[in-house]
Amino acid sequence: MKKQLFGKRTMAVITAALMAAGGMTGCSSGNKETTAEVTETTSAAAAAVTVASESKEEQTTADEIKPCEIKFRYWADNTDYSQLMQDIIKKFNAENGKGITVIGEESPWDGGAYSENLFNSKMGGGDVDCAAWKLTSTPLFVNNGLLADLTPMIDAWDKKSEIDDNIYNIMVEAGDMQRIYVMPWNIQVLYVYYRPSIFKKAGIQVPKTYEEFLEAIEKCTMDTNGDGKTDVYGFAMRGAKGGQEPWGSFIYGRGGSFEDLTTPEAVQGMQDFIDIYQKGYVPPTATSDGFSEIIANFQSGLAAMTIHHTGSSKDMEKLFGDDVSAFPFPKGKGQWTSMGDTETVIFESCENKKAAFEWVSYLAAGEGQKMWCEGTGNVPVSKSVQESDFFQNDRFMKASINGQKFAGIVPILDTTTEWISDLWPNTVSQALTGSITAKQCMQTLQDGLYK
């Protein structure tokens, strides 16, 4: 009997341990392969890089493109873009004349989880050859030896000069400061969308300076039916993940910069951001508003202005016709707007790098560039495509192209992803809701980015 009771007790303890431990597997199961493999993969990748660099010259000259399959992973923001990418792939496969068959593998963007899934896939030995890309992921993949060095292939590319040197420089800065691991594809320059009819009602013109912009936000906040409640807010603020992009414009507007977020100018920019929230010039949901919410707020007429890129312009135009327009973020002491980026990469594990380069260069300066940018409304990186009528006659594209000269990116460090997805939204919402001051907020953001 005693023995039986002891057995039951033991069972109870083991059962409890198993149940409680179950929670931990969630944390570690994602890495169970990587733990054992990371050292191997890292060293294998490092070895591969060494071997690759030694034999690079031989490879680029001797390796001819043979008929092969290239697996390309990408995301598409909607079903139209998904179909468009399939059309581009189809066209490339039919016309490349080298027997290269690109197989498009779509994966959802999922608020950035795309990059994490791609990383897990490559660390686990996934067979993707090349992929659509965001610069923020570059340090992680480079540190783990997963990306192929594209420098020799770009140097030998006959369309290299089609892309501005400044863009290549940004690609170099995102990697190891020496090599290009990332192939430019298209950019999205953020600008301000506004409703001319609301501006007219508020009696204001398109702001020319940062101060005028802040004033416009205030004046567009209106009680249109006289019930004492705000019906139209001046600005649809993005306080959730991704909000660092429009926020950066406020910081630079006061003369601050990402290099040091604790300067009085940067703190003042943060204070402006807090003020427009606390004074009720933005919807009270701003602390948790992400992309869908700011666009919904603007499209429903709840907000007079918002910041986004040409990715939204088609829907805006369809909804408002001429009652929607755009201007570049106005200049204050400084001027900055976020340059959203989309690139492509080739993985070190790809066995047919030259064939993969044919494909990614087709997207960067060939017919793929034209088709994708015309279909999605993104700003092309190819100068000749930029100069075409399609891009020159569009008011939203014009705002993008005008903003291109002062557009930039959040510093690409190994801390950037966590900073964007976790630290920035939570710290800024602490400041917006008054838990911390603008100065404390900027100190936390500085420490988190440059730790």
């Binding site: 039986q4 009771l5 039951k8 007790r9 069972m11 109870a12 303890v13 409890a16 341990a17 198993l18 149940m19 409680a20 431990a21 179950g22 929670g23 931990m24 597997t25 969630g26 944390c27 570690s28 199961s29 994602g30 890495n31 169970k32 990587t34 733990t35 990371v38 890292t42 994490e116 992680l140 540190n143 783990n144 306080g239 959730a240 993940k241 919807p283 009270p284 949901t285 701003a286 602390t287 948790s288 508003d289 919410e293 919904a296 707020n297 429903s300 709840l302 190994d414 801390t415 992803t417 966590e418 997805s421 976790d422 939204p425 939570n426 919402s429 602490q430 917006l432 809701t433 838990s435």
Partner: protein
């Protein structure tokens, strides 16, 4: 009677044990090792043994302490209300009435809906600008201004607790209903003859009769709710201002940020915490049985 020793029981349980070893023990062992390392995949060259630094860092981390406190509130309120409302629902569904089968089936919907969908659905219900809840409350004059439920530090956490309660009620009602159906009607008849009130029957017959089911169900839900990420992550991602960040969400965020050493250390601390709750609970249960 002499028990015959045979190898068959061991052979038959071997596949299950093997699977548990692979999907539970190996990852747990892995997590334990990582928790003693500076295991940050963003800086793979710096991966090295660092003793109990991750545990010390967790103890000093104000975000960890805040998340721990919220986890306790999350579990107590979440499971507590799930049990209470699930029990009431089970008692109601145990009565004979027309359409009982349909109601039983419909009441299971929250439980069979994936957590991700629940998160998205409730996020739109709570939406501060266009949400149906605000619309409803305005129409019945409970509020005069729209409430940004998920955007305010004061309302975000209670809002997600309501969601997890809504999700978990059917599980309790299902388990408790099954147990209630096993309680003999004769005991209630005898109690009725003795003139027992509803509450007396509830506390002296019903609850003692289904005590073991209550124990197991509560324990399971405590562990599941403490570890749940999907609903919170899809509704608020732990924000605004970390106000809905429970320990499991914090671990998930750190894991996503590839700081696996620190995430593993926190996961182990959470597991130990759950063990403290689970072991005495199960021992008490088995002791009373024995």
């Amino acid at each position: 009677m002499v028990k015959k020793r045979t190898i068959w029981p061991y052979v038959l349980v071997a596949p299950a044990v093997l699977i548990i070893l692979c999907v539970v023990f190996i990852p747990v062992f892995n997590a334990i090792i990582m928790s003693f390392q500076n295991y940050d995949l963003r800086r793979p060259k710096e991966i090295a043994f660092n003793g109990i630094s991750n545990y010390i860092a967790a103890c000093r981390d104000p975000l960890f302490k805040g998340a721990l406190f919220r986890t306790i509130v999350w579990v107590i309120c979440g499971v507590g209300f799930q049990f209470l409302l699930g029990f009431i629902l089970a008692l109601l569904l145990n009565k004979e009435f027309a359409g009982r089968g349909v109601i039983r089936a419909v009441s299971m919907i929250p439980w069979v809906t994936p957590g991700v969908l629940i998160g998205l659905m409730w996020r739109w219900i709570y939406d501060g600008n266009f949400g149906v809840l605000n619309d409803l409350l305005l129409k019945i004059h409970i509020i005069t201004d729209k409430v940004p439920f998920l955007s305010q530090v004061t309302t975000a956490f209670p809002s997600i607790i309501v969601t997890i309660v809504w999700q978990g009620i059917p599980f309790f009602s299902l388990m408790l209903l099954a147990a209630l159906q096993g309680v003999s009607a004769e005991i209630y008849e005898a109690a009725d003859i003795d003139g027992a009130s509803f509450l007396q029957k509830l506390f002296y017959i019903t609850i003692p009769s289904i005590k073991n089911t209550i124990f197991v169900t509560v324990l399971l839900r405590v562990i599941w709710v403490a570890n749940s990420v999907d609903v919170i992550f899809n509704m608020t991602e732990g924000g605004p201002a970390y106000s809905t960040q429970t320990l499991s969400v914090y671990i998930f965020n750190k894991g996503n940020a590839l700081n696996l050493g620190y995430a593993s250390a926190m996961a182990l601390l959470l597991a130990v915490l759950l063990l403290f709750a689970a072991v005495p609970y199960l021992r008490l249960n088995f002791k009373e049985e024995g």
